[in-house]
Symmetry: D2
Subunit: 438 residues, 4 copies
């Protein structure tokens, strides 16, 4: 975790205090059920919850000190709790194994992290939607290969981002379900020493599903799917970030990240306004994606488990979720306050001398009965002249002077092909598909 790329709510989830609190809840809920089942005295759970009701401070340093001796984190924690609660605490953890606590805790953390990320995406979607409707019909040139193609609207660019992050939300909900399972099944998952009813009880209390079959651990294909999903979301962040970076290029300058008055862009070049937030998002996307391969490598644990996954998750559990949370927040801010320059969009759109309308002319020629090859040739030879003039010549004028073209198309019809609105007649259709309204 790099502090400058983190936000408090997500970071708090991964603090030792948060982890120990979840551990306690798991143990206490389990003890409660064990009490109901008559395995331990009902007084045990009561003692635990009574102590918990005092809102005790978790003494992380004390627990760490015990772990330094026992070299076992769960035993250290249980020992510390026993010191606080007293004799009744010895009934905790009956028939359980450390991984029951650790893996169920991770499930809670990842589920809560998912909830924060889903909120993040909701906020991002709101902002994108607002900007989409604001610029639903703001013309801008569509570019394929970085080259002017045909007109689109800035609202359509936003609609595309909205659809993409809507998919990301759907995926995240699925990823949350993947990891939100509870396993309290004992040393090798057989429930030999603990009733499955305990697992069901703890799962229900913590809002998790039960893990149908665990070994000692919750199977890591679940976590692999989770982190892979974060990697896809990070890539979508990168895509929108790269779009902004392109739009802010000096020669394009159709949009800019918001630039606060006090901000210095460079120690050397005071005029510079750099898209540093979206460049940063590009890098953070790489950071989040870095979790994907290790998570995939974690799946093939040996037999009923080995512990190689653990260190990987200590890094990437926090790093991937904290960084993605930060990145979603940053992207939301960027889009929310993005400076958008419709005049510049129009200026860029016009700068190619009308070449962007060539496709329409091509079609009109074909529909007027000219062969595809001839149509292509007529348009291309005029287009090339415009291209070579660096936008000084006008395609419309050249076509009107091309007798092969005018032989097939009346001048009025040629002129009609250069009408911008023509391109936007389905914007409402697309908006309805994406937003359910237009």
């Amino acid at each position: 975790m790099v502090p400058r790329y983190s936000r408090p709510a997500m970071t708090a989830l991964w603090e030792p205090e948060a982890r120990f609190k979840i551990w306690f809840e798991i143990e206490a809920h389990a003890t409660e059920k064990l009490g109901e089942l008559g395995v331990v005295p009902p007084s045990a759970a009561k003692a635990l919850w009574d102590w918990w009701a005092t809102n005790p401070v978790i003494d992380v340093a004390a627990i760490d000190a015990i772990e330094a001796v026992t070299k076992h984190d769960v035993i250290a924690f249980l020992t510390w709790v026993a010191e606080q609660v007293g004799d009744e605490a010895r009934f905790m953890h009956q028939g359980m194994t450390s991984s029951d606590v650790l893996d169920t805790c991770l499930a809670v953390q990842l589920a809560r992290a998912s909830d924060l990320l889903i909120e993040d995406i909701d906020k991002l979607l709101d902002v994108i939607k607002r900007r989409a409707f604001e610029h639903k019909l703001t013309p801008t040139i569509g570019r394929s290969h970085g080259i002017h193609a045909e007109p689109v609207t800035f609202g359509l660019k936003m609609a595309e981002a909205y659809a993409e992050f809507s998919r990301c939300k759907t995926r995240l909900i699925a990823a949350r379900a993947e990891v939100a399972t509870c396993a309290i099944s004992g040393a090798v998952g057989t429930f030999a020493n603990i009733d499955p009813a305990v697992e069901e009880h703890v799962a229900q209390k913590l809002g998790l599903a039960i893990e149908p079959v665990s070994t000692q651990v919750i199977p890591r294909d679940r976590h692999a799917m989770f982190f892979a999903t974060l990697g896809v979301i990070a890539s979508s962040i990168e895509r929108l970030a790269v779009e902004v970076r392109h739009l802010q290029r000096t020669e394009v300058l159709e949009a800019e990240e918001y630039f606060s008055p006090g901000q210095k862009g460079s120690s050397a070049m005071p005029h510079k306004r750099n898209p540093v937030l979206t460049e940063n998002l590009t890098g953070l996307a790489r950071v989040v994606r870095a979790a994907v391969v290790p998570a995939l490598e974690n799946v093939a644990l040996w037999h009923e488990r080995d512990i190689s996954h653990s260190s990987v998750e200590r890094f990437f559990g926090p790093d991937a979720t904290i960084t993605l949370d930060f990145a979603l927040g940053r992207l939301t801010g960027v889009i929310d306050k993005l400076l958008i320059y419709p005049e510049r969009m129009m200026k860029n759109l016009d700068k190619m001398g009308g070449l962007v309308h060539s496709q329409r002319v091509l079609l009109a020629l074909t529909q007027a009965g000219v062969s595809r090859e001839d149509s292509y040739r007529y348009v291309q030879r005029n287009a090339m002249k415009v291209w070579e003039s660096d936008g000084q010549l006008s395609l419309l004028e050249l076509l009107k002077a091309d007798t092969d073209v005018t032989a097939a198309l009346p001048v009025a019809e040629i002129e009609d092909k250069f009408n911008l609105d023509y391109h936007f007649k389905q914007v409402d259709t697309i908006f309805r598909r994406v937003f359910g309204e237009a």
Copy 2:
């Protein structure tokens, strides 16, 4: 694609013939709708379908030759079709852009590939289920960290695999839905020159969903999610493969890949039976996973599209699906014919002098009122003696001779803790969770 790691049905999907056939269907369906809409003569689609009804041979070499000149694959194909069909063919592709054809074709290919993969998983699940029930109560030692832990059954190992591949199936169905969309939206996705009804028609005919908003291309977050899912499935294959490899180790030998009479394991050591199929699966998992990162890197295309994704997909579209199909088939064969040795499992289980039952004794002591720490110490000191004797001493006998232990537990109760069946009393519960039956 490496031929030895491929199967015909999946490979055929990626042959040029298959691709051109899908292209034709897309173009013909689109022309059909354009005819209905009055954009082109209805006779155009008829001419195309009439020709198609003759079951024409796709002349890949001829199309390639045209492409060598035009340097454009879709134009080359259209030109070739026009040569076959005649004048009516000029109405094909009206208002469409190459990517409408290419991306929708890829959607069809990935959807069909998914169908094959789903079938593969179904077959694998059937085989795993059969072996699971066959060995539902075959005792074997559960191992954590590669070290003997407590007894499980071989059926439980299979149940875990079944649950894991059931999840893989669910994920694959979701991944299929991610990529099975049709985009016929023109040069920059605005439908400027083509009615959205064409897209809807083609989508419906090809069994695809419509792409709510495309740019020039179908957004690549969909494909990233698809390949990421294949990577997770590959990792689950690796996990089961690694399990088999471990079980076949000389010192363990609880299971073996089927060894056909004519097979030579090694040119030098004729006695060797190597788990080469599962080792191969381990490698193939790496190959399939190799598609994940490039697919994630493909998401952030520039503006309305750049073509950097294309070469990546030419490699990994076929390679990842063909290899995964092969791997699933191979794994199914391995599990289907796996030689399973229950006697050896029991022999291994017994070899530690009963140490695997220590957890039960520990619990019994705690329940009999001994403190957790003392219980642990009593069991551990005897366990260490057994361990150091390399299984020559018996934990049961040592415990019965330990007065601290017998002070808390009657001998009969100690003996009861060494009963194997105790561990399997929840196997039916787990089977019902996993298979819906026990």
Copy 3:
């Protein structure tokens, strides 16, 4: 391997014929030495080489047919050779293990592939150097964050690429040395059944180093380092490709990929000239990099070897080297024929109203005794006006009208700060560092 992204010389290296020929050479050289050592009759090697001198056709289909029965590739090959050579062939492979042949063969293939790649880089370096000197002093704007910064020359851009690919060459030479080792050490690397002199002999004949200690196989950290190096080179290709793509953007258009007269950029937009070659190179870089992670995962083979690496290498041995070879060739062609537009570079450089010179003014103010903070403020307030005018206002004129500025700097000195040549006075220094000449 995707044929369209391959070249014949590199592809031939990976054909079955090439592999079998190397196998034969390894076996024949080994038999030769075994003959010298008296282990086998000297006539054995003679018989092999005599047959080889007839330039026999390698019957791949026949060998495959034998393998289909034996399920062992080396045995199949030896069997086929024995059929051709006769009785003396039975002395081949004495004391060797299959991996001695397979791994040494792979070493030869990777060494030869490296030689081709080194040649590729040499050709690329030649072309880059020519373009660098051609445009050594062609002014163009330097951009950080995609935003105009200060002037550079196009030659400097090329010099940077030259230095980068020179490093790639050095790395490739090191990577070649990593993998160019010969292991003929028997079943577990102990030379139990074969004299180390055989290994030395074969190594020397094939131009390889000996592997100081092998297990059954050559250790895979070597191959990991090799493929990681290819991944770095691919990333450098991507960098230069992305530079060209940026320069070709419609609004920038300072350079263009060569556009042949017959080429069609788009089926729909005949005016388009798309940087498809460099976009393709961007994708191919992802493909080559995809080999890195699997190669790293191949390192941790079990004990003296497992065979999981083999399938990975069957894919990525050819794919990574063939694709990188193709990509280097394509990049060489792109740079060789790149259309470079100095006028457009100058036009872009000028378009910001002189803002790119702000750094010089800032420094001059500081050196004239104005505090850093004040200097920054004076320059920034004028720069902002220019920026907001979209290049219509001139920074020079504004500064000359700013009394805080003129109080510190005479007008003539302000004007002097806008001289372009000032920026290029160290170009020769840099060229001498990079090329050894200027």
Copy 4:
């Protein structure tokens, strides 16, 4: 960075204090040279060094507070230094750009990190060498595919590791040279406002090479190569860790991680001794490798630079070096104190009824004139009987009873083939190759 996987010396390198100290040194050395060149007063450097000689405490919080306003880290630092040093400090940073400081600082950090890692490897090599010579002739079974093959010695396993980590050291030295360069070249690398002599001076003072041509930044192919090399080293750590994990498996138990008396292996199974250190190393290898792909993705920065690499390096600069340093230290400890059980190795070696000697018999038969195919068949049929007896039958006895075998080989010669020392006659040769001594 995860504290439990870090060591102080490496961690300190990445603390803010360490970074600011390096920044100061860069600025002060540069100011010194600027003074010599007459660009700034010589008193400026003197003022800086005089202050530095007071060993001032770096007030990280104060600098952070300034950055919170300026949003620029280098400006914040310079401002803070100016507050401490006074008026003379305004001459710092003349003609430099932030990246001159940041990138040169990173070079110093990575070079120092490399030095620590090289020391780590040296220590590891010492320990491996000691264990290698200690067990030079300790027989143990060599395993391919996890299956018993032929005898090796434990010393040979160590020799292989020694050779592998020697290669890692060589690679690390090369990787250090890749990144240990100094760039002080100004805003776009042209030295427009700063003499190249400054760069040379700072480089020399800091023990770096000059960067022959920088843009605004040091090119990131260097860092990609650096992190890729760390990834390879991590994979070699994984390999040795996996070897230990295999050797410690219950059924194998030829070696064990040192087990301290106070250590509890499991909360539930007190007898367990788990190879948790090497399992952890397996996971840490995944963590270090996770830096490779992002570092490769960092290479293709836009034009003269974008800042997307920065966040990636803030994570993986520390994480990869700190984790690798920790892992090398942990591995050194594991090997240093590894419990090695020669008796168990011999017991395992013998357990297959002599099958491991089958290769020798096979060879002897061939050399005695039996065809390869017949030899194979004779050995295989007896080997299969031994195999099926689970090591109860003896291959030697069976062969002596096989008339086809005895027809070709006298019994004494058959017996000779079962002599273990035969396999170790080249151990000295291999040791001399690896260690230069035997």
